[in-house]
Amino acid sequence: MLQYTLRRLASAVILMLFVSFVAFALVFTAGDPAASIAGEGGTAADAERIRSVYGFDRPLVLQYASWLGRVLQGDLGQSIYFNQPVTSILIERFQATMLLGVLALCFALLLAIPLGIAAGRWPNSIVDRVALLFAVVGQAMPTFWFALLLIILFSVTFPILPTSGGETWRHMILPTIVLGYFAAPAIMRLTRSGMIAALETDFIRTARAMGIPSSKILSSYALRNALLPVVSLAAAQFGFMLAGSVVVESVFAIHGAGRLVWESILRSDLPTIQALVLCFSMFYVVLTLVADIINAWLDPRIRDA
């Protein structure tokens, strides 16, 4: 297990280095950063001055190396708009986003896994049809539109929940539903197919032939196997949800990292954008790493491989 974890950790570090380079280079290849910072009123001379001040005239790899060196010390640069260290802004902003992400993940799992189990236990039943409908609708529903529909519903028809801001727990309900419903269909479908596959295995036949009660077969023997792939998917979905917070936080006016992405892009705040792309990517790498380690812990075959 330790050996597996170390090996998996090493590959995650390599991946992080590569992804951080791409995140860094992206901003430079997509446009001229100096011109962006100078803004629409800036002259060529302004851009030139910015270029030498920020060191944009040095080779990309050198710039990356010095940037990475600073990042490793926790320095993500200085925000052009706020004129503050990006690190402190991000720490503040990611609190809301993480809270939202965790709430949405819990909501998605609580919704999708029981539904997936029921649908897999009784394929083609009414439950299964309802679950399928739920999944198909969820996968086709654009997040921002669903968010607006809920706002219409709760601000006009049933004004019982706040539809804007993120100050109290009641503010988090609608964003959690929107983001959770975005992630739930895939988890539900995988749970369902995992359950169906697990229930058809030889070892479930063995358990039945040995008189293990069917409740135990379902909740332990089959579920444990059915949920193995769901762990990886849930981690990936959590990553997608964090990215999806860009849209949801913008619609619900939540003061989080997702909204900061949007704001920074509109403000051409390059160091902040760069740091955000880096952070969101790193979260994804860490999440998949954690998922793999959980999987190894749940599945002895991976552990020893």
Partner: protein, 338 residues
Amino acid sequence: MDSMLLDIEKLNVTIDTAAGPLKAVQNVSLRVAKGETFCIVGESGCGKSITALSLMGLMPKRAKRRAERMMFDGTDMTTLGESGMRRLRGNRISMIFQEPMTSLNPVFTIGQQLTDVMRAHSRVSLAEARERAAFLLNKVGITNARERLGQFPHELSGGLRQRVMIAMALMCSPDLMIADEPTTALDVTIQAELLRLLRDLQQEFEMGLVLITHDLGIVSRIADRIAVMYAGQIVEDGTADEIFGNPLHPYTQGLIACIPSPDHPRMQHLPSIPGTVPPLIGGLKGCHFRERCPYAMPSCMEEIELKGHEAAHRYRCILPAQTSAAHAKMAQGEQVHA
């Protein structure tokens, strides 16, 4: 027949398929006495496994079971329902399967799977159950039994996993064990060891044993009684001595002729029965074996009942005299196991 452990009368299993109902098992009657070894023999697709699974109440989803009588040790199994059958399964009747590599749950330890069986049927402490599990692992020839309890299935070889399966089936000291092709997936040397183990355990635990196999050769060593199945029907049954000494159905004769024997080691050609088991969709009329039978004649189109004396020997063929004469000729120079 009070002393009978298992008494099945006219068991029928029908499976719904896209192409129509498939009569996988037709009017199968069998009786197994306490402590007896009863073998069901036949090629793949003859309905042996379905017969066994339906005895356990574990039919595939689309299968329907119908029987005139299904008694286990004086209890009518048709009236038991799922919860009653569950209490029987693994407790008084247990079953082991052909696929040792996939029959154990990959994510639980051997110990957990063994103890779960015992704790599903009786109120014992975990420590007691583990004690029993270690004792049985030892019994089925696994060394370091206590260490093995903490291991996962993928850490064991196929032969060891099948031993674990046997130990699992013995956890509650069942009265009857059904073994469905238990050695088919294993190496030949391990096959022999496992069969000997099964026979020893059967005697020690005084269980009834129903052994299902396509290999008549392995049956000769341990069977008390044999039923030969072909295309969903029993075509011949009787004591092992009778079946091997005086096979009356051409299919049985064919199977016996196919047994490789050390007495005629370098035969140029191991005989085989030409053709394959016919599809069972719709209804087969007359003798199911007639298309592959060397002695088929027009009257084989008619329905044929089992004839003979139940306790000793029955057969489903219109030509016992002729075929037995033919068999005698076939057997010349080929010493048949008795």
